[in-house]
Amino acid sequence: MTDRTAITDGLRESTQALAFEYDSARSSAPFIDEFVQLVRYRDLVILLAGNILKNRYKRSLLGILWMLLNPLLQTIVLAIAFGTLFNSALPHYPIYLLSGLLAWSFMTQTVQYAMGIMATGSSLLKRIYIPRATYVVAVVSNGLVNLLISIMPLAMIVLVLQHPVSTSWLFLPVSIFILALFTLGLSLLLATAAVFFNDSIDIYQIVIQAGFFLTPIMYPPSVLPETAQSWLVLNPFFAFIDLFRAPIYTGTIPDIHVIATASTLALATLLVGWGVFTHKADQLAYRL
Protein backbone atom coordinates (compact mmCIF):
# COMPACT_ATOMS: atom_id res chain seq x y z
CA MET A 1 0.00 0.00 0.00
CA THR A 2 1.43 3.35 -0.97
CA ASP A 3 1.42 6.45 1.16
CA ARG A 4 -0.92 8.24 -1.19
CA THR A 5 -3.72 5.71 -0.79
CA ALA A 6 -3.16 5.75 2.96
CA ILE A 7 -3.82 9.47 2.93
CA THR A 8 -6.97 9.22 0.84
CA ASP A 9 -8.22 6.37 3.02
CA GLY A 10 -7.61 8.53 6.05
CA LEU A 11 -9.41 11.48 4.56
CA ARG A 12 -12.38 9.32 3.67
CA GLU A 13 -12.49 8.16 7.27
CA SER A 14 -12.47 11.67 8.52
CA THR A 15 -15.40 12.76 6.39
CA GLN A 16 -17.64 9.90 7.51
CA ALA A 17 -16.60 9.38 11.09
CA LEU A 18 -19.24 6.77 11.81
CA ALA A 19 -18.55 4.37 9.01
CA PHE A 20 -14.85 3.74 8.96
CA GLU A 21 -13.30 0.35 8.71
CA TYR A 22 -10.17 -0.51 10.55
CA ASP A 23 -7.70 -3.15 9.54
CA SER A 24 -4.62 -3.67 11.66
CA ALA A 25 -2.78 -5.12 8.68
CA ARG A 26 -3.40 -2.04 6.56
CA SER A 27 -1.85 0.76 8.58
CA SER A 28 1.65 0.16 7.40
CA ALA A 29 2.83 3.75 7.42
CA PRO A 30 2.62 5.11 10.98
CA PHE A 31 4.62 8.14 9.85
CA ILE A 32 1.65 9.32 7.80
CA ASP A 33 -1.19 7.58 9.59
CA GLU A 34 -0.42 9.40 12.85
CA PHE A 35 -0.69 12.73 11.06
CA VAL A 36 -4.02 11.83 9.47
CA GLN A 37 -5.38 10.74 12.85
CA LEU A 38 -4.19 13.94 14.51
CA VAL A 39 -6.12 15.96 11.95
CA ARG A 40 -9.21 13.88 12.73
CA TYR A 41 -8.80 14.46 16.46
CA ARG A 42 -7.87 18.14 16.13
CA ASP A 43 -10.70 19.21 18.45
CA LEU A 44 -9.18 17.03 21.17
CA VAL A 45 -5.76 18.64 20.71
CA ILE A 46 -7.29 22.11 20.98
CA LEU A 47 -9.29 21.19 24.09
CA LEU A 48 -6.29 19.65 25.85
CA ALA A 49 -4.09 22.64 25.04
CA GLY A 50 -6.74 24.94 26.49
CA ASN A 51 -7.17 22.78 29.58
CA ILE A 52 -3.44 22.89 30.36
CA LEU A 53 -3.64 26.67 30.30
CA LYS A 54 -6.79 26.84 32.41
CA ASN A 55 -5.59 24.30 34.96
CA ARG A 56 -2.31 26.02 35.56
CA TYR A 57 -3.91 29.27 36.66
CA LYS A 58 -7.36 28.15 37.74
CA ARG A 59 -6.95 28.25 41.49
CA SER A 60 -4.57 31.18 41.75
CA LEU A 61 -5.69 34.62 42.77
CA LEU A 62 -4.18 36.63 39.96
CA GLY A 63 -5.01 33.96 37.40
CA ILE A 64 -3.90 34.65 33.89
CA LEU A 65 -2.23 37.86 35.04
CA TRP A 66 0.64 35.70 36.29
CA MET A 67 1.54 34.96 32.70
CA LEU A 68 2.25 38.65 32.22
CA LEU A 69 3.83 39.27 35.62
CA ASN A 70 6.18 36.28 35.61
CA PRO A 71 8.44 37.41 32.76
CA LEU A 72 8.35 41.00 34.04
CA LEU A 73 9.47 40.04 37.55
CA GLN A 74 12.10 37.65 36.18
CA THR A 75 13.48 40.39 33.97
CA ILE A 76 13.56 42.96 36.76
CA VAL A 77 15.47 40.63 39.09
CA LEU A 78 18.03 39.62 36.48
CA ALA A 79 18.36 43.17 35.13
CA ILE A 80 19.18 44.46 38.61
CA ALA A 81 21.70 41.67 39.13
CA PHE A 82 23.49 41.83 35.78
CA GLY A 83 22.36 45.11 34.24
CA THR A 84 25.36 47.12 35.36
CA LEU A 85 27.69 44.40 34.14
CA PHE A 86 26.50 44.45 30.53
CA ASN A 87 24.93 47.88 30.20
CA SER A 88 27.82 49.28 28.14
CA ALA A 89 27.88 46.35 25.73
CA LEU A 90 24.11 45.96 25.68
CA PRO A 91 22.07 49.16 25.91
CA HIS A 92 18.48 48.54 26.97
CA TYR A 93 19.69 45.33 28.61
CA PRO A 94 16.22 44.22 29.85
CA ILE A 95 15.03 43.88 26.24
CA TYR A 96 18.05 41.80 25.25
CA LEU A 97 17.52 39.66 28.34
CA LEU A 98 13.77 39.11 28.09
CA SER A 99 13.71 38.36 24.36
CA GLY A 100 16.38 35.71 24.88
CA LEU A 101 14.67 34.39 27.97
CA LEU A 102 11.30 34.02 26.24
CA ALA A 103 12.71 32.00 23.36
CA TRP A 104 14.76 29.84 25.74
CA SER A 105 11.87 29.15 28.13
CA PHE A 106 9.49 28.34 25.29
CA MET A 107 11.83 25.69 23.92
CA THR A 108 13.11 24.14 27.13
CA GLN A 109 9.99 24.29 29.31
CA THR A 110 7.77 22.92 26.56
CA VAL A 111 10.09 19.96 26.03
CA GLN A 112 10.23 19.26 29.75
CA TYR A 113 6.46 19.44 30.05
CA ALA A 114 6.03 17.09 27.11
CA MET A 115 8.45 14.59 28.67
CA GLY A 116 6.61 14.72 31.98
CA ILE A 117 3.16 14.33 30.53
CA MET A 118 4.17 11.29 28.46
CA ALA A 119 5.99 9.66 31.37
CA THR A 120 3.31 10.12 33.99
CA GLY A 121 0.16 11.88 32.94
CA SER A 122 -1.24 9.93 30.05
CA SER A 123 -3.11 6.92 31.43
CA LEU A 124 -5.71 7.68 28.79
CA LEU A 125 -3.38 6.30 26.14
CA LYS A 126 -3.64 2.90 27.85
CA ARG A 127 -7.41 2.85 27.91
CA ILE A 128 -8.71 4.13 24.62
CA TYR A 129 -7.39 4.85 21.16
CA ILE A 130 -6.38 8.45 20.62
CA PRO A 131 -3.52 9.54 18.38
CA ARG A 132 -0.37 8.94 20.42
CA ALA A 133 1.06 12.36 19.63
CA THR A 134 -2.06 14.14 20.94
CA TYR A 135 -0.56 15.16 24.28
CA VAL A 136 2.79 16.28 22.87
CA VAL A 137 1.16 18.42 20.18
CA ALA A 138 -1.22 19.90 22.78
CA VAL A 139 1.69 20.77 25.06
CA VAL A 140 3.58 22.49 22.25
CA SER A 141 0.44 24.41 21.21
CA ASN A 142 0.01 25.52 24.80
CA GLY A 143 3.65 26.64 24.95
CA LEU A 144 3.12 28.60 21.76
CA VAL A 145 0.12 30.43 23.25
CA ASN A 146 2.20 31.21 26.35
CA LEU A 147 4.97 32.63 24.17
CA LEU A 148 2.54 34.83 22.24
CA ILE A 149 1.03 36.14 25.47
CA SER A 150 4.42 36.92 26.98
CA ILE A 151 5.29 39.09 24.01
CA MET A 152 2.95 41.62 25.64
CA PRO A 153 5.15 42.32 28.69
CA LEU A 154 8.12 42.43 26.32
CA ALA A 155 6.35 45.08 24.25
CA MET A 156 5.62 46.99 27.44
CA ILE A 157 9.30 47.11 28.33
CA VAL A 158 10.13 48.17 24.78
CA LEU A 159 7.68 51.08 25.12
CA VAL A 160 8.88 52.06 28.57
CA LEU A 161 12.56 52.12 27.53
CA GLN A 162 11.63 53.82 24.24
CA HIS A 163 13.51 51.16 22.32
CA PRO A 164 13.22 51.70 18.54
CA VAL A 165 10.64 49.47 16.88
CA SER A 166 11.25 48.67 13.22
CA THR A 167 9.47 46.68 10.52
CA SER A 168 11.75 43.75 11.43
CA TRP A 169 9.08 42.83 14.01
CA LEU A 170 7.08 41.55 11.04
CA PHE A 171 9.65 38.76 10.73
CA LEU A 172 8.72 37.44 14.19
CA PRO A 173 5.96 35.06 12.99
CA VAL A 174 8.55 33.31 10.81
CA SER A 175 10.96 33.07 13.77
CA ILE A 176 8.26 31.71 16.05
CA PHE A 177 7.17 29.19 13.44
CA ILE A 178 10.71 27.83 13.07
CA LEU A 179 11.12 27.73 16.86
CA ALA A 180 7.85 25.81 17.17
CA LEU A 181 8.89 23.22 14.58
CA PHE A 182 12.15 22.61 16.43
CA THR A 183 10.41 22.43 19.81
CA LEU A 184 7.83 19.96 18.51
CA GLY A 185 10.56 17.74 17.08
CA LEU A 186 12.64 17.80 20.25
CA SER A 187 9.54 17.22 22.40
CA LEU A 188 8.56 14.13 20.39
CA LEU A 189 12.08 12.76 20.52
CA LEU A 190 12.65 13.28 24.23
CA ALA A 191 9.10 12.33 25.23
CA THR A 192 9.76 8.95 23.64
CA ALA A 193 12.97 8.67 25.66
CA ALA A 194 11.09 9.65 28.82
CA VAL A 195 8.65 6.77 28.36
CA PHE A 196 11.46 4.23 28.07
CA PHE A 197 13.87 5.56 30.69
CA ASN A 198 12.82 7.06 34.01
CA ASP A 199 15.91 9.19 34.41
CA SER A 200 15.57 11.01 31.08
CA ILE A 201 13.94 14.02 32.72
CA ASP A 202 16.69 14.28 35.34
CA ILE A 203 19.39 14.12 32.70
CA TYR A 204 17.51 16.64 30.60
CA GLN A 205 17.25 19.09 33.49
CA ILE A 206 20.99 18.95 34.17
CA VAL A 207 21.82 19.50 30.50
CA ILE A 208 19.37 22.41 30.29
CA GLN A 209 20.73 24.03 33.42
CA ALA A 210 24.22 23.91 31.99
CA GLY A 211 22.88 25.02 28.63
CA PHE A 212 21.36 28.14 30.14
CA PHE A 213 24.79 29.39 31.14
CA LEU A 214 26.54 28.14 28.00
CA THR A 215 24.11 30.01 25.75
CA PRO A 216 24.29 33.81 25.39
CA ILE A 217 20.92 34.55 26.97
CA MET A 218 21.84 36.96 29.72
CA TYR A 219 25.25 37.93 28.37
CA PRO A 220 26.44 39.02 24.91
CA PRO A 221 28.48 36.45 22.93
CA SER A 222 31.33 38.99 22.87
CA VAL A 223 32.14 38.39 26.55
CA LEU A 224 33.19 34.84 25.73
CA PRO A 225 36.85 34.09 24.97
CA GLU A 226 37.45 33.81 21.25
CA THR A 227 37.87 30.04 21.28
CA ALA A 228 34.56 29.67 23.09
CA GLN A 229 32.89 31.97 20.55
CA SER A 230 33.91 29.69 17.71
CA TRP A 231 32.41 26.73 19.60
CA LEU A 232 29.11 28.58 19.79
CA VAL A 233 28.11 27.39 16.32
CA LEU A 234 27.75 23.94 17.87
CA ASN A 235 25.10 25.18 20.30
CA PRO A 236 21.82 24.63 18.45
CA PHE A 237 19.88 26.84 20.86
CA PHE A 238 21.95 29.90 20.02
CA ALA A 239 20.69 30.07 16.44
CA PHE A 240 17.07 29.83 17.60
CA ILE A 241 17.50 32.51 20.24
CA ASP A 242 19.20 34.80 17.75
CA LEU A 243 16.36 34.18 15.30
CA PHE A 244 13.83 35.44 17.83
CA ARG A 245 15.94 38.20 19.38
CA ALA A 246 17.39 39.98 16.35
CA PRO A 247 14.11 41.42 15.03
CA ILE A 248 13.25 42.76 18.49
CA TYR A 249 16.57 43.89 19.93
CA THR A 250 18.71 44.93 16.99
CA GLY A 251 15.75 45.75 14.78
CA THR A 252 17.12 43.68 11.91
CA ILE A 253 16.09 40.58 10.02
CA PRO A 254 18.32 37.75 11.33
CA ASP A 255 21.46 36.92 9.41
CA ILE A 256 20.75 34.67 6.42
CA HIS A 257 23.13 32.04 7.80
CA VAL A 258 21.24 32.00 11.07
CA ILE A 259 17.92 31.59 9.25
CA ALA A 260 19.31 28.78 7.12
CA THR A 261 20.93 26.96 10.06
CA ALA A 262 17.85 27.27 12.25
CA SER A 263 15.41 26.15 9.53
CA THR A 264 17.52 23.15 8.58
CA LEU A 265 17.98 22.17 12.20
CA ALA A 266 14.28 22.60 12.95
CA LEU A 267 13.17 20.50 9.98
CA ALA A 268 15.72 17.77 10.66
CA THR A 269 14.75 17.59 14.35
CA LEU A 270 11.07 17.44 13.48
CA LEU A 271 11.57 14.67 10.92
CA VAL A 272 13.70 12.59 13.27
CA GLY A 273 11.43 13.24 16.26
CA TRP A 274 8.27 12.42 14.33
CA GLY A 275 9.89 9.32 12.84
CA VAL A 276 11.14 7.97 16.17
CA PHE A 277 7.90 8.78 17.98
CA THR A 278 5.59 7.19 15.43
CA HIS A 279 7.91 4.20 15.05
CA LYS A 280 7.81 3.55 18.79
CA ALA A 281 4.16 4.60 19.24
CA ASP A 282 2.81 1.05 19.24
CA GLN A 283 5.07 0.16 22.15
CA LEU A 284 3.91 3.11 24.23
CA ALA A 285 0.78 1.36 25.49
CA TYR A 286 2.92 -1.45 26.92
CA ARG A 287 5.38 0.89 28.52
CA LEU A 288 3.38 3.71 30.01
Binding site: A17, L18, A19, F20, E21, Y22, D23, S24, A25, R40, Y41, D43, L44, I46, L47, L48, N51, K54, N55, K58, R59, S123, L124, L125, K126, R127, I128, Y129, I130, A193, F197, N198, D199, S200, I203, D282, A285, Y286
Partner: protein, 248 residues
Protein backbone atom coordinates in the same frame (compact mmCIF):
# COMPACT_ATOMS: atom_id res chain seq x y z
CA UNK B 1 -27.58 -9.25 6.48
CA UNK B 2 -25.54 -9.92 9.56
CA UNK B 3 -22.02 -9.08 8.63
CA UNK B 4 -19.08 -9.66 10.95
CA UNK B 5 -18.30 -6.47 12.85
CA UNK B 6 -15.15 -7.72 14.53
CA UNK B 7 -12.84 -10.21 12.88
CA UNK B 8 -9.92 -11.53 14.84
CA UNK B 9 -7.65 -13.63 12.72
CA UNK B 10 -4.78 -15.53 14.33
CA UNK B 11 -4.02 -12.70 16.71
CA UNK B 12 -1.04 -13.02 19.01
CA UNK B 13 -0.01 -10.32 21.46
CA UNK B 14 3.48 -10.74 22.80
CA UNK B 15 4.88 -8.69 25.63
CA UNK B 16 8.59 -8.42 25.86
CA UNK B 17 9.57 -8.35 29.49
CA UNK B 18 13.14 -7.48 30.40
CA UNK B 19 14.65 -10.26 32.48
CA UNK B 20 15.78 -7.73 35.00
CA UNK B 21 14.03 -4.45 34.83
CA UNK B 22 16.28 -1.68 33.55
CA UNK B 23 14.42 1.52 34.15
CA UNK B 24 17.16 4.09 33.69
CA UNK B 25 19.29 5.21 30.83
CA UNK B 26 22.30 5.19 33.12
CA UNK B 27 21.99 1.49 33.87
CA UNK B 28 21.30 0.71 30.26
CA UNK B 29 24.47 2.53 29.22
CA UNK B 30 26.56 0.72 31.84
CA UNK B 31 25.30 -2.65 30.64
CA UNK B 32 25.89 -1.75 27.05
CA UNK B 33 29.45 -0.66 27.82
CA UNK B 34 30.10 -3.93 29.62
CA UNK B 35 29.00 -5.70 26.47
CA UNK B 36 26.07 -7.36 28.11
CA UNK B 37 22.87 -6.76 26.24
CA UNK B 38 19.51 -6.72 27.86
CA UNK B 39 17.92 -10.12 28.18
CA UNK B 40 14.24 -10.43 27.56
CA UNK B 41 11.69 -13.08 28.07
CA UNK B 42 8.74 -13.14 25.73
CA UNK B 43 5.32 -13.59 27.18
CA UNK B 44 2.26 -14.26 25.08
CA UNK B 45 -0.75 -12.52 26.53
CA UNK B 46 -2.84 -13.83 23.65
CA UNK B 47 -1.92 -16.76 21.43
CA UNK B 48 -3.38 -17.42 17.99
CA UNK B 49 -6.82 -16.14 18.73
CA UNK B 50 -9.38 -16.40 15.94
CA UNK B 51 -13.05 -15.57 16.15
CA UNK B 52 -15.53 -13.08 14.81
CA UNK B 53 -18.50 -11.23 16.20
CA UNK B 54 -21.47 -10.54 13.97
CA UNK B 55 -23.60 -7.46 13.87
CA UNK B 56 -26.16 -7.35 16.66
CA UNK B 57 -24.48 -10.05 18.67
CA UNK B 58 -23.71 -9.70 22.36
CA UNK B 59 -20.57 -11.59 23.23
CA UNK B 60 -19.55 -12.25 26.81
CA UNK B 61 -15.91 -12.84 27.66
CA UNK B 62 -15.08 -14.84 30.77
CA UNK B 63 -11.89 -16.19 32.24
CA UNK B 64 -9.82 -16.01 35.37
CA UNK B 65 -7.45 -13.14 36.18
CA UNK B 66 -4.56 -13.04 33.74
CA UNK B 67 -6.40 -15.02 31.08
CA UNK B 68 -6.03 -12.12 28.64
CA UNK B 69 -9.48 -10.54 28.81
CA UNK B 70 -8.23 -6.98 29.22
CA UNK B 71 -5.55 -7.45 26.58
CA UNK B 72 -8.20 -8.70 24.15
CA UNK B 73 -10.38 -5.66 24.82
CA UNK B 74 -7.39 -3.37 24.38
CA UNK B 75 -6.68 -4.96 21.00
CA UNK B 76 -10.28 -4.40 19.92
CA UNK B 77 -10.22 -0.83 21.29
CA UNK B 78 -7.05 -0.29 19.17
CA UNK B 79 -4.91 0.58 22.18
CA UNK B 80 -2.58 -2.33 21.46
CA UNK B 81 -1.71 -3.46 17.98
CA UNK B 82 -1.47 -7.25 17.60
CA UNK B 83 2.10 -8.56 17.39
CA UNK B 84 0.95 -11.09 14.82
CA UNK B 85 -2.32 -11.66 13.04
CA UNK B 86 -4.99 -9.30 11.95
CA UNK B 87 -7.85 -7.38 13.46
CA UNK B 88 -10.61 -5.92 11.35
CA UNK B 89 -13.37 -3.68 12.60
CA UNK B 90 -16.44 -2.47 10.83
CA UNK B 91 -17.92 0.57 12.46
CA UNK B 92 -17.14 2.78 15.40
CA UNK B 93 -15.96 1.15 18.61
CA UNK B 94 -16.82 2.91 21.86
CA UNK B 95 -15.26 1.59 25.03
CA UNK B 96 -17.02 2.44 28.25
CA UNK B 97 -14.08 3.81 30.18
CA UNK B 98 -13.28 2.99 33.75
CA UNK B 99 -14.74 5.35 36.28
CA UNK B 100 -13.37 8.83 35.74
CA UNK B 101 -10.86 8.00 33.00
CA UNK B 102 -10.97 10.70 30.38
CA UNK B 103 -12.29 13.27 32.83
CA UNK B 104 -10.46 16.33 34.03
CA UNK B 105 -11.69 16.77 37.59
CA UNK B 106 -10.86 20.47 37.71
CA UNK B 107 -13.06 21.20 34.71
CA UNK B 108 -16.82 21.59 34.77
CA UNK B 109 -19.25 18.92 33.67
CA UNK B 110 -19.96 20.85 30.49
CA UNK B 111 -16.26 21.11 29.60
CA UNK B 112 -15.84 17.43 30.36
CA UNK B 113 -18.67 16.45 28.04
CA UNK B 114 -16.77 18.08 25.19
CA UNK B 115 -13.45 16.62 26.36
CA UNK B 116 -14.83 13.11 26.67
CA UNK B 117 -16.56 13.40 23.31
CA UNK B 118 -13.30 14.53 21.71
CA UNK B 119 -11.51 11.54 23.27
CA UNK B 120 -14.10 9.33 21.57
CA UNK B 121 -13.33 11.07 18.28
CA UNK B 122 -16.30 13.44 18.02
CA UNK B 123 -15.94 17.00 16.81
CA UNK B 124 -16.88 19.98 18.91
CA UNK B 125 -19.84 20.65 16.65
CA UNK B 126 -21.19 17.13 17.00
CA UNK B 127 -20.94 17.36 20.78
CA UNK B 128 -22.71 20.72 20.88
CA UNK B 129 -25.69 19.09 19.17
CA UNK B 130 -25.67 16.21 21.64
CA UNK B 131 -25.20 18.30 24.78
CA UNK B 132 -28.87 18.49 25.77
CA UNK B 133 -29.63 14.81 25.46
CA UNK B 134 -26.42 13.88 27.33
CA UNK B 135 -27.26 16.21 30.20
CA UNK B 136 -30.78 14.88 30.34
CA UNK B 137 -29.78 11.22 30.37
CA UNK B 138 -27.02 11.66 32.93
CA UNK B 139 -29.32 13.57 35.27
CA UNK B 140 -26.54 15.80 36.56
CA UNK B 141 -28.87 18.81 36.32
CA UNK B 142 -27.60 21.86 38.16
CA UNK B 143 -24.10 20.40 38.47
CA UNK B 144 -23.48 20.89 34.75
CA UNK B 145 -21.34 23.96 35.35
CA UNK B 146 -19.70 22.79 38.58
CA UNK B 147 -16.24 21.20 38.56
CA UNK B 148 -16.35 17.42 38.31
CA UNK B 149 -14.34 17.12 41.54
CA UNK B 150 -17.56 18.12 43.34
CA UNK B 151 -19.47 15.18 41.80
CA UNK B 152 -20.26 11.94 43.53
CA UNK B 153 -18.71 8.86 41.90
CA UNK B 154 -22.18 7.83 40.78
CA UNK B 155 -22.59 11.11 38.92
CA UNK B 156 -19.20 10.68 37.22
CA UNK B 157 -20.18 7.20 36.12
CA UNK B 158 -23.52 8.43 34.78
CA UNK B 159 -21.94 11.25 32.86
CA UNK B 160 -19.31 8.92 31.36
CA UNK B 161 -21.96 6.43 30.32
CA UNK B 162 -24.16 9.14 28.86
CA UNK B 163 -21.35 10.59 26.70
CA UNK B 164 -20.11 7.21 25.47
CA UNK B 165 -23.56 5.96 24.51
CA UNK B 166 -25.34 9.08 23.34
CA UNK B 167 -24.49 8.36 19.73
CA UNK B 168 -25.26 4.71 19.18
CA UNK B 169 -21.89 3.05 18.59
CA UNK B 170 -21.67 0.12 16.20
CA UNK B 171 -19.56 -1.74 18.75
CA UNK B 172 -19.81 -1.12 22.49
CA UNK B 173 -17.25 -2.49 24.91
CA UNK B 174 -18.44 -2.78 28.51
CA UNK B 175 -15.85 -3.85 31.03
CA UNK B 176 -17.76 -4.55 34.26
CA UNK B 177 -18.89 -0.95 34.38
CA UNK B 178 -22.57 -1.72 34.08
CA UNK B 179 -22.86 -2.23 37.82
CA UNK B 180 -22.19 1.41 38.73
CA UNK B 181 -24.59 4.08 39.82
CA UNK B 182 -27.80 3.79 41.78
CA UNK B 183 -30.47 1.29 40.87
CA UNK B 184 -32.55 3.80 38.96
CA UNK B 185 -29.61 4.60 36.71
CA UNK B 186 -28.76 0.92 36.37
CA UNK B 187 -32.25 0.34 35.03
CA UNK B 188 -31.86 3.25 32.63
CA UNK B 189 -28.46 2.10 31.36
CA UNK B 190 -29.63 -1.50 31.03
CA UNK B 191 -32.61 -0.26 29.03
CA UNK B 192 -30.35 1.75 26.75
CA UNK B 193 -28.08 -1.24 26.14
CA UNK B 194 -31.10 -3.40 25.39
CA UNK B 195 -32.24 -0.75 22.91
CA UNK B 196 -28.81 -0.82 21.24
CA UNK B 197 -29.05 -4.60 20.90
CA UNK B 198 -32.45 -4.37 19.31
CA UNK B 199 -31.15 -1.76 16.89
CA UNK B 200 -28.26 -3.89 15.78
CA UNK B 201 -25.31 -2.74 17.90
CA UNK B 202 -22.66 -5.28 18.68
CA UNK B 203 -21.76 -5.48 22.35
CA UNK B 204 -18.81 -7.03 24.16
CA UNK B 205 -19.19 -7.64 27.87
CA UNK B 206 -16.41 -8.72 30.19
CA UNK B 207 -17.43 -10.08 33.54
CA UNK B 208 -16.27 -12.29 36.35
CA UNK B 209 -19.85 -13.13 37.03
CA UNK B 210 -21.04 -16.03 34.83
CA UNK B 211 -24.65 -15.40 35.76
CA UNK B 212 -24.66 -11.90 34.28
CA UNK B 213 -23.02 -13.21 31.10
CA UNK B 214 -25.76 -15.78 30.80
CA UNK B 215 -28.43 -13.14 31.31
CA UNK B 216 -26.99 -10.52 28.92
CA UNK B 217 -25.26 -12.38 26.11
CA UNK B 218 -26.08 -14.58 23.13
CA UNK B 219 -22.61 -16.05 22.88
CA UNK B 220 -19.72 -16.41 25.25
CA UNK B 221 -15.98 -16.82 24.91
CA UNK B 222 -13.96 -18.56 27.61
CA UNK B 223 -10.36 -17.41 27.65
CA UNK B 224 -7.70 -19.45 29.39
CA UNK B 225 -3.99 -18.53 29.43
CA UNK B 226 -4.42 -16.36 26.37
CA UNK B 227 -6.19 -18.95 24.21
CA UNK B 228 -9.78 -19.83 23.52
CA UNK B 229 -10.86 -22.66 25.75
CA UNK B 230 -14.44 -22.67 24.52
CA UNK B 231 -16.67 -20.46 22.39
CA UNK B 232 -20.36 -21.02 21.82
CA UNK B 233 -23.80 -20.12 23.05
CA UNK B 234 -23.71 -18.30 26.37
CA UNK B 235 -25.53 -20.99 28.30
CA UNK B 236 -23.30 -23.82 27.01
CA UNK B 237 -20.07 -21.97 27.84
CA UNK B 238 -21.20 -20.73 31.23
CA UNK B 239 -22.45 -24.19 32.26
CA UNK B 240 -19.06 -25.72 31.48
CA UNK B 241 -17.09 -22.79 32.89
CA UNK B 242 -14.81 -23.69 35.75
CA UNK B 243 -12.24 -21.02 36.34
CA UNK B 244 -8.69 -22.12 36.77
CA UNK B 245 -6.83 -21.01 39.81
CA UNK B 246 -4.84 -18.00 38.57
CA UNK B 247 -1.46 -19.05 37.27
CA UNK B 248 1.49 -17.74 39.23
Amino acid sequence: MRMPMIEIDNVTVRFRIPHERIPTLQEYAIRWLKGRGVQYIDFNALTNLSFSVKQGETLGIIGSNGAGKSTLLKVIARVIRPTEGRLRLRGRVAPLLELGAGFDYEMTGRENIFLNGAVLGFSRKAMAQRLDSIVEFSGIGDFLDAPVRTYSSGMVARLGFAVATDARPEVLIADEVLAVGDTDFQRKSAARIREFRENGSTILVVSHNPASIKALCDRALWLEHGSIRLIGSASTVVDQYAPDPPSS
